[in-house]
Point group: C2
Chain length 232, copies 2
């Protein structure tokens, strides 16, 4: 075997930290492994990257196969490449996270035999397979950092939401000890001018219904180009 060939004995995979929000807390979708290694352990959904598949495409595929969803927010975080991170050989993995609207996720489609389950993002069991605890922590940290500087939170909410729901989301993501002040939060987010008020109101609640809002992405991008910086 030539020297160059000896470098071509490794593989790479993608692992995807899929976040959702159920109205109360931030969740992560984990699977229980059906095959060795780490059979039976909880793990991040992931797969080897096909030889002629781009990295991002592989991450999308993993997400699509597990949730049936496509066209969702997906972002690469970093590569994890410790020599011994995988028991069967040299496999580095590229970690991604996605943000999905939890209500769109139906339950595991039949095509995927493995059991998948939502777990509390801030309180995940510490013995995930491989180095997945590491990966999860890194992605969670990155989400927390990024969510306060870019308007990605909306990816976790239904298209129309109330300001209270939005606030609860941010309280769940940034773990502010005391929560956020209601009036100040509303003032701030409305002042950015990136939300549009819907004509409908919240329905089916046993109290005064709230106004519904939508995130206006075009408006945000126009303002961002002019120097607006989202910051919570």
């Amino acid at each position: 075997m030539s020297e160059v060939e000896s470098f071509f004995k490794s593989a790479f995979s993608v692992d995807n930290v899929i976040f959702g929000f159920d109205g109360r807390s931030l969740k992560v979708l984990l699977i229980q492994r059906g095959a060795a290694p780490f059979r039976g352990k909880w793990a991040l959904p992931g797969d080897l990257v096909y030889p002629n598949e781009d990295l991002d495409a592989a991450a999308e595929r993993v997400l699509q196969q597990l949730t049936g969803l496509s066209n969702v927010y997906l972002e690469q975080v970093k590569a994890f490449g410790a020599v011994d991170r995988h028991p069967i050989g040299r496999v580095i993995t590229i970690a991604y996270y996605s943000l999905i609207k939890i209500s769109n996720y139906a339950v595991t489609p039949a095509s995927f035999a493995q059991s998948a389950q939502w777990h509390e993002a801030n309180n995940v069991i510490t013995d995930l397979a491989f180095d997945h605890n590491d990966i999860l922590d890194t992605c969670l940290q990155q989400l927390k950092t990024k969510a306060r500087r870019e308007p990605i939170g909306f990816e976790l909410l239904p298209p129309k939401f109330t300001l209270t729901e939005l606030q609860q989301l941010y309280e769940a993501i940034l773990d502010q000890p005391k929560g956020l002040d209601k009036r100040n939060f509303r003032k701030k987010i409305l002042a950015m001018n990136i939300l549009v008020e819907c004509s409908e109101q919240q329905a089916g609640v046993a109290h005064r219904p709230a106004k519904l809002y939508q995130f206006d992405k075009e408006k945000y991008e126009a303002l961002a180009a002019k120097g607006l910086s989202f910051d919570l």
Copy 2:
């Protein structure tokens, strides 16, 4: 060849965007490739990762072989893995950037035959080898973002520096159109309480010498733990 084996026909490399600051502008260290592919083209320093080498270690090695430096600021940015990014096979690369004190870099050590040269970081030729323009842009963007929120700029300065030097550095990194206000910059950075004044002064200048300062990392970390957030 088994199905699993077909996944083990790829390699990975690291590429390192090495930044320096010469007192006026931000620089990147590029090499001129001595071998195919892209022989003669300018490129980021990088190498294949050895089979039993951690990713970070490979990035350090590349840096060390080129500059003779070790123990410098090094950070992984992301993986670049388009299927066709490398002409000789499937090779994904993990991009890093490092910040070095340019005065410590002697010139290419003999061990490295390739010619290495500093280029203006904000104005690099657009036909680097591989997808290196992409990688460079991403790393530069990341540096700009990160430099305003974490005290990493000091890695580019000598241990003792004047406030004017520090300001010039930040003006070079964040390309503020009008520069920063001198009085306000000093007020802000000194108020953070992470600099210590040296007993010496600047020497060898034909005008009033400035006080020299050092970055106090322990102090910063103590304050950061209590909630200080570096922000310029």
